[in-house]
Amino acid sequence: MSTQYNVIGTRPIRHDGADKVTGRALYGADIQLNGLLHGAILRSPHAHARIKRIDTSKAEALPGVKAVATAADFPAAGDKIVDLGEGATPLSYIRGNVLAQGKVLYRGHAIAGVAATSAHIAEEAASLIEVEYEVLPCTLTAPDAMKDGAPILHEDLHMQEFGKKTDKVNNVADHFRFSIGDAEKGFEEADLIIEREFHTSTVHQGYIEPHNATVLWNNDGRVQVWTSTQGSFVVRDTTACILDLPVAQVKVTPMEIGGGFGGKIPVYLEPVAAVLSKKSGRPVKIVMTRKDVFEASGPTPGSYIRAKIGAKRDGTFTAAQAYLAYEAGAYPGAMVGPGAMCIFAAYDIKNVTVDGYDVVVNKPSTAAYRAPGATNAAFAAESVVDEIAEKLGIDPVDIRLKNAAKEGTQRVDGPKYRRVGCVEVLQAIKASEHYNAPLGGPNRGRGIGIGFWFNVGLPSSCTISVNADGSVNLVEGSTDIGGTRTSIAMQAAEVLGIPAEQVHPSVVDTDSIGFTAVTGGSRTTFATGWAAIEAARDIVRQMKERAAKLWETEPAEVNFENGVFSKNGKSMPFAELASKIGETGGPIVGRGAVNPRGVGGSFAGAIADVEVDPETGKTQVVRFTSIQDVGKAIHPAYVEGQMQGGSVQGIGWGLNEEYYMDTTGTMRNSSLLDYRMPTALDLPMIETIIVEVPNPGHPFGVRGVGEANIVPPPAALANAIHQAAGVRLRTLPMKPSTIMEAVWAK
């Protein structure tokens, strides 16, 4: 099937480009309001402690301080289960993470907020708040937290097992099992079984813009919020929930966002700034420091994984089994579910059992990070697959092709795939120039990995109004973290038969557009794009009515193709008809409000070439290619950008990034200097191969493209390092000292 498009598949300049490259775009911390106060947060120096007493009197007495807030200032609403965009969660957890109640559960846990006339005064005032702690022993990793006698974070957290509450209190929030076929029988049929253990460190998304919030609690009782977020409606609903207000009493204006990757879905500062604003009567702005971002926002879980695969001599996988224990951080919700669904998602294996454990530990409460849970899991599975291929003497691509998931393959959690592109991704790897090129030097190795991530639907809204000059204004609620203004505008332009430049997209506040779920789950181009398609179709329908009026015919008689309305030899381009909307009946506004099904998951692959210094263990990535089935690339340059961005984050995760914690639960590398994300100087140009297997569930074949690309890199790097240095690393990050220690131990 080849469809001819006019706009889709082209590379127009992004609508927000000029503002971004000239520095005129307004990010969260840029907001300035009359009478603005600056806030600071007092954070726990302990990883685990009971709060015996908080005395704010000295802070309140400091000249320049206008308000102080603690958890006691939140309304004493009873606990309830709420779903604010990241699944059902007790409100007490969300509220308790914003300001600690009774106990602090990680170093950096917010305890109190201060608003003052300058940031320096606020900071000093925060340091004057006296907190009496009863310091408790802490537990920092999933295996340790699950041991008998481990310090318990939540005395009231009873383990849920296989969907039922138990009476066990053991830091495990949930133990679940997915199973298809009969794994035990499958392993009996295998000629080779490999089972390995893996450890991965807590890592951070590393967005450059720190969290921020500015709030004005107005005299009329309405609460206005300006913030950079992935979901303005999530901020609205969470803030309203914590403050016990009707949702419409909160209005959230999303500012430009300097990176999110899943980490800017949770709410941290808004409710505190709101309380401080209410108490002081003035707007309050709070901006996190980088240290706060590391210590008190939501990184992605560290994990302990055991993965086992059985294979016949010809490479056919007969069974797979995995045990995943993910560190949720201070509150349940470690994204181990998706990890369990994804660990073997790239393979058609009939007998699979996966056990997942959601474990609370004394680290910051984790948040989503680009394909959350899947990268850890793929590191384990793809390392085992590589070892099986090596032992059986089969090419790593061929063994994957032999077992690749395809239409009809059942995933361990139940669903069967519709048309997917796993095979096509592997074929693209095999056919690529990179995979067939010589390595070009000693101490080099090449590894591959593949991985899967979902695509979600969820509600999106869009309105489009027609301008008399033939352009249209598109209004949406999806905050733009990856070029979605343009990818959404292009879908509307395609329907309307006009150039992308004739669409003016705006991301607006929560009062000005219908509910729109978070920018996450690789859903925005898919779902908000769909809303834009619906809105554009609504415009076409109304425009046909106007043309029918002019031509004195029925709307059904009017044709519309490539931006031209026609009927019996008469024709009128979109712009000309737009110029006549005043005389034909007035304004035209189209609307789209969707909650689409038909999501299309995405498979991605990576080819990594590395060179390992045999004396220092330092890994240099010398060549890297990202391959992904994107369904249909609406704007190929932004798709390539997503693939490159995900690859870079995966490389950082694989090689150097980690929360380096001491035994007291203090992160010792909470700065960008020591956290060691890769810089441009550490990376080759990331090559991309776009594979297009259209998603049958979307009008233009769109799949989610933002996330799957981060899944394969650590595994591909581990497999490459094995070839280069002769050691299989099963711990992330694969930093130089870890590689040397493995070489020495050989």
Binding site: E124, K618, P736, S737
Partner: protein, 285 residues
């Protein structure tokens, strides 16, 4: 950050006076360490004395036979942009080019790198290997000490209240020198270990060698390399130099690396740096 006063004296006398009157005062050259430390609350000076407007502290003067006078406030970029200095001390130009990124090098000074006295300071092992001295002025006059003796503990140096570093003096070199550090990234990183080496050759043998290390002790340290004098230039000698360095290192385990790994790196870096310095010495003849 707390409030502080700012003063920008035009001569050394004013600077010394200000520093003497305010015991918690800190001198400011590029500020690339100081401002970060103040923001983090690690230093709380009541006065900042900006030394960038003092002529002597901005001197960058090379004279064959006499050596280099490097003013304490001279930013890194001036070193590698100066062709005479880069020719005479290519290893120094290289070090000036690896401290921070380009923007940082527009402000950061080698003098500041020395005074900050970080165990990981990239310039200090090379300065020690080059036999550099520090010219200090204070309320009781002027004194000169070896850079090797300048740092006394992490973040602490020999400067007494009221004293400032005026310049670093580097003698003329007859051989080759090189500083190598190990960082997990390629730039913009703190040394896990670093080795500064200088060497002079005589009849194909090592006449004398100096070795100093970063990031493996509370201060940059000097390795006793006297046993290398007279040794032939070969792999055994390079290996021996590495062993001397590893034996002298007293590293700790922290987020930047384990003690064993750092000791191992000392040997590798010293061997590589010495080989490179020998090649440079041969070339300069």
């Amino acid at each position: 950050m707390k409030w502080f006063d700012y003063q920008a004296p035009r001569n050394i006398g004013e600077a010394v006076e200000a520093m003497t009157l305010h015991p918690t005062a800190r001198p400011l050259a590029g500020g690339t360490d100081l401002l970060v430390q103040m923001r983090a609350g690690r230093r709380t000076p009541d006065l900042i004395v900006d030394i960038k407007k003092i002529p002597e502290l901005n001197q960058l003067h090379f004279e064959p036979g006499l050596g280099l006078t490097l003013g304490a406030a001279v930013p890194c970029y001036r070193i590698y942009n100066d062709s005479a200095v880069s020719r005479a001390y290519p290893s120094l130009a290289e070090v000036a080019n690896i401290i921070g990124g380009t923007q940082i090098q527009g402000r950061a000074s080698i003098g500041g790198n020395l005074c900050n006295a970080a165990p990981s300071a990239d310039s200090i092992p090379l300065l020690i290997a080059l036999g550099a001295t520090a010219r200090i002025t204070g309320p009781s006059g002027e004194r000169t000490i070896d850079v090797a003796a300048f740092c006394t503990a992490p973040g602490v140096n020999v400067l007494q209240p009221g004293e400032i570093l005026v310049s670093i003096q580097i003698p003329p070199t007859a051989g080759g020198a090189r500083y190598l550090r190990f960082i997990p990234r390629n730039e913009m990183d703190i040394a896990v270990a670093g080795a500064g080496v200088s060497v002079t050759l005589s009849n194909g043998n090592i006449q004398s060698a100096k070795i100093a290390l970063a990031s493996v002790a509370p201060t940059p340290i000097t390795v006793d390399a006297s046993s290398l004098s007279g040794a032939p230039v070969n792999d055994d000698t390079l290996k021996k130099a590495g062993e001397l360095a590893a034996a002298a290192a007293k590293p700790i385990t922290d987020m930047r690396g384990t003690a064993d790994y750092r000791r191992h790196l000392c040997a590798v870096l010293t061997r590589r740096a010495l080989a490179s310095a020998i090649a440079a010495a041969k070339e300069s003849k």
